[in-house]
Symmetry: C2
Subunit: 572 residues, 2 copies
């Protein structure tokens, strides 16, 4: 039985649902409407278009075989009709009609449907600054804006840029501005770390330092008061001073475009976003919705959450396409993931960060492990920094975050953990996680396994730790004499510290410790130090056995302290 499917929105989910449906039910008719002319583009590629890595906007609109996904493409290759410049203004569910307005002529038309897909996406969340309407102020919300930004920066007239918001897209934009165009770029963030809520303060600080080494400036804990300029933006006024800005990018997140659905009487979540079931159906079984305009189930908390993502939109689009054709495909939800390349590093997360886990009421803790990303004897290796978020008591793993070099090694570890989070793994499961092993790719006891094992030792109270930032505070307070700093490494590593701070930085190599226990004071907190936290953990056990238990193993060791830029023997 042929039917007419109408799809509102022609980016990501809309086209995916349309194409899948047409492959299953080629005899049926599909009409996809969009309020603009730029359809079916890869929005996540915008920062790479700005940076020049992607040379033209058309590339973001093309298939992998270089065909432009325009109206003609959808007609000829997919047998799908696309109406552009049509804004859906109302859905009459009784009559099964979409009322649309022509954006050029203002003409109103009705479009009947048998089944409807709402794929209206999201729009930038714009803080209520004075001056956001000035020329030169942009969001990174669509390809039209992206083309304007690219034209401006390519014209050579932009000397300084301010990015408002240090989320993943803000940081990608900061890299794009700095790296190719050499624009003096400052990121302003209201929270006290970059990627707030997404990764820990320590990982965030490491990533920030890397970006600073690449000439990006940061103003954290800084509130934008207003944007100023004569017609065109000239400066950003913040509570910590003024910043010159030839261009301003507002990247403070997005909100779902659920208004059409709300007006039609469909269920919308209190926090925003259209509510759908696992078949991606709204509260009206003839209307589906997906992509950035819906809330989905978080497979860790079992609650609704808003997680806009081009990848999820594609998966949901296929589910909708199948179900429009009478199938019963399911999209069960997501655990939430992100990964971002920042110059020469990558940063990412799967599942809940510690901040989110605690906000959700999980009594949880993070473990930091720093280890080489492949066999330690293999030549091309690099340190990787991973944190595991775990629930105390149960040992349930809630999430993992990390930082690695810009290759795919970090991505690989995120891929190893993301798909299993919905099965409620424990730290023991992560310790035993089965990954392919070969020296050019991984270690026999891979960093992911080490992370699970370290978390287990931490939860069982066997490994008692101090975080690197806290360790540095102890060190800065060393004159108080509360803490005894004991370096357990070989002399080669310890020497510069001992020579610079002979009174404060003590040294007993871990393999001599059991014979030199009488040198260790019994009346002080002891901070145990090695390169990454492995030997200091061994030292802790040796001291435990000797009844010296007020010891704290520096998590991530000096590798963490150095990466934070806080090495006591380095001029900062």
């Amino acid at each position: 039985m042929a039917q007419h499917v109408v799809i509102i929105g022609a980016v990501a989910l809309g086209p995916k649902a349309a194409c899948r449906f047409k492959r299953l039910e080629p005899e049926s008719r599909v009409t996809m409407i969009d309020q603009t002319d730029l359809i079916s583009y890869g929005g996540c590629g915008i920062p790479y278009f700005i940076s020049g890595d992607v040379s033209s906007a058309e590339e973001l609109q093309s298939t992998s075989f270089h065909m432009l996904r325009d109206k003609k493409f959808f007609k000829d290759a997919k047998d799908i009709e696309v109406l552009t410049g049509k804004r859906a203004i109302q859905v009459d569910r009784e009559k099964k009609v979409v009322v649309m307005e022509d954006t050029a002529s203002g003409k109103i038309e009705d479009l009947s449907y048998d089944k409807l897909v709402i794929a209206t996406g999201s729009r930038p969340k714009i803080p209520p600054f004075e001056g956001v309407e000035l020329k030169g102020v942009y969001t990174v919300s669509n390809l039209q804006d992206a083309v304007h930004i690219k034209n401006e920066v390519a014209s050579g007239g932009v000397g300084s840029a301010v990015i408002v918001g240090a989320g993943a897209i803000g940081l990608e934009m900061a890299e794009a501005m700095t790296d190719l165009w050499g624009i003096d770029t400052t990121v302003v963030e209201i929270e006290d770390q970059i990627l707030p809520g997404l990764i820990s303060r320590n990982l965030a600080k490491m990533a920030q330092r890397h970006m600073e080494e690449n000439e990006v400036k940061f103003y954290l804990s800084t509130r934008v008061l207003r944007l100023e300029g004569q017609g065109r933006v000239e400066r950003v006024v913040t509570d910590r001073g003024d910043l010159d800005a030839d261009i301003v990018i507002v990247a403070t997140g997005v909100v779902p475009n659920h208004e059409l659905a709300l007006k039609a009487g469909l269920d919308v979540a209190p926090q925003g976003g259209i509510v759908v079931n696992e078949y991606m159906q709204t509260s009206d079984p003839n209307i589906y919705a997906g992509g950035d305009c819906v809330v989905i189930k978080n497979l860790i908390t079992a609650k609704h959450f808003y997680h806009p993502s081009g990848a999820l939109a594609n998966r949901q689009g296929r589910v909708i396409g199948t179900n429009l054709a009478g199938g019963n495909a399911r999209f069960e939800g997501a655990v939430g993931t992100f990964v971002v390349k920042l110059f020469e590093i990558s940063v990412g997360s799967v599942g809940l960060s510690l901040a989110k886990a605690r906000a959700e009421g999980f009594d949880s803790v993070n473990t930091l492990v720093i280890q080489l990303d492949r066999a330690h004897f293999y030549p091309d290796k690099d340190l990787m920094y991973l944190e595991l978020t775990v629930e105390k008591g149960t040992g349930r793993v809630l999430g993992m975050q990390g930082l690695g070099n810009k290759g795919d090694g970090m991505f690989a570890r995120l891929c190893a953990v993301a798909p299993i989070l919905k099965y409620c793994p424990t730290v023991e499961d992560i310790g035993n996680l089965e990954l392919p092993y070969s020296p050019p790719f991984s270690a026999a006891m891979d960093i992911v396994n080490a992370l699970g094992n370290t978390a287990q030792n931490l939860l069982q109270g066997r490994n008692r730790v101090v975080d690197p930032d806290e360790f540095v505070r102890w060190w800065e307070d060393r004159e108080k004499g509360d803490t005894y700093f004991l370096d357990c490494r070989g002399w080669g590593n310890a020497q510069p510290y001992v020579e610079k701070y002979p009174d404060s930085w003590k040294h007993i190599p871990q393999d001599e410790l059991r014979y030199r226990l009488d040198e260790v004071p019994r009346d002080k907190s002891i901070a145990l130090i090695c390169n990454t936290g492995v030997r200091s953990y061994e030292a802790q056990i040796t001291l435990d056995q000797a009844g010296i238990r007020k010891t704290f193993n520096l998590q991530g060791g000096m590798a963490a302290v150095k990466k934070l830029g806080l090495d006591p023997v380095q001029e900062s």
Copy 2:
């Protein structure tokens, strides 16, 4: 209650179990014995030592912080006694005594234990060739042999090498011989493909071609009859002729060293390997075993299988260490994984290959997908080749194999699938698999998701395919006129084929096909061709709709045919 733990074997599992146990129960005593002096080395690094990537054998024996893991290290850093040059010849379970022989003096000694760990590992499977005892014939079984091989090749006296066996280690050795040392290297394999049983014939052929482009020669379907030479090996005599060889490496697999356990009356599997429960206990609860001398549970087949792996040995070692200290850690089994770097590519597998799945009685099939490893608009991208092994009927995913460039992108996809195989995922689960998405790392619809979706279409009979090697056979038989070859790509791609074979290679672009249906014959098999199989699948649906159903979509498209070296417009 302090106890004495004896561990037989001091490589991989033995040291891991010993160290973990001592961390949990530092008051107890551990004695680890080994028949050689070279202990606790990374055996998987041997090919990289031979190739020169690892400069000295000591590096393979060192910790990541450059301490040599010798007897002194274990004594001082770990409080573990190591006895080298002691061969365990008997276990008296009644008396709880290990009888050991000094390999130098022949002296027999008893060593009492409270608990025992058997970590006797594996030994090379040596085929019964005449001449294997000749000088210059080696296995890749231990560091001693590796040092001999390295000394020989570094001396410059080795002009030609023959590797017997095209498994992962044989291929790694072939690369090592060729790449740095420029040795004329030939791999002889009795089966008709490299990596037999591990990956499909098509993937194997692609990998083989890459190695051939890097000067490695192959003799497949070739049986070694004997090795010949005057005292030292000079040639390998095969059923397909003689091969000169200054050095011969026999890499035909390993067998478990279970004899000591068998003699002690412990359960040993019929196919070889000590039987252990999920706590890694043998049939004697006071005796644990793990690593290359045991069989483990295959989490896909639920049967025992032999899967020697340094990574699994480490995980099992930790489980044993925990349980020796009264814990109840579990090692539930494995799905089986491998990954290998071969010059500029990587090849790997998780779970069952099609050959293994069929041998296990699964009615199964493979799907091939070729796609870019990151967003198609991102500059540094490369094709990746993945195959999914799925059970017909249930749609259960049994395994995945693939080939990519030598970066970590292929490893990442293996990591994404390996950990979930034990949860019995379906093709739908793989289609929806949640991986982090960002254009520098992945595609919005990542190749893994595309693989699941393609497999689903295949199982549902919607996508009817022809494998690339079969397609080439049809093409070679084109004079018979049974098959109509229809290229669905744009003219730019199709042109060289149409111009070279105007009578046989037909061209209708997919986006014109619905308007040109009358050009398509209704009395022939039709092979549908595009770059990777995506547009030809669309064409198949269009033809289905027109009632033309005897069509076959070329799996992997011309990308597969080219990678196999079978492109009809390329001189081979």
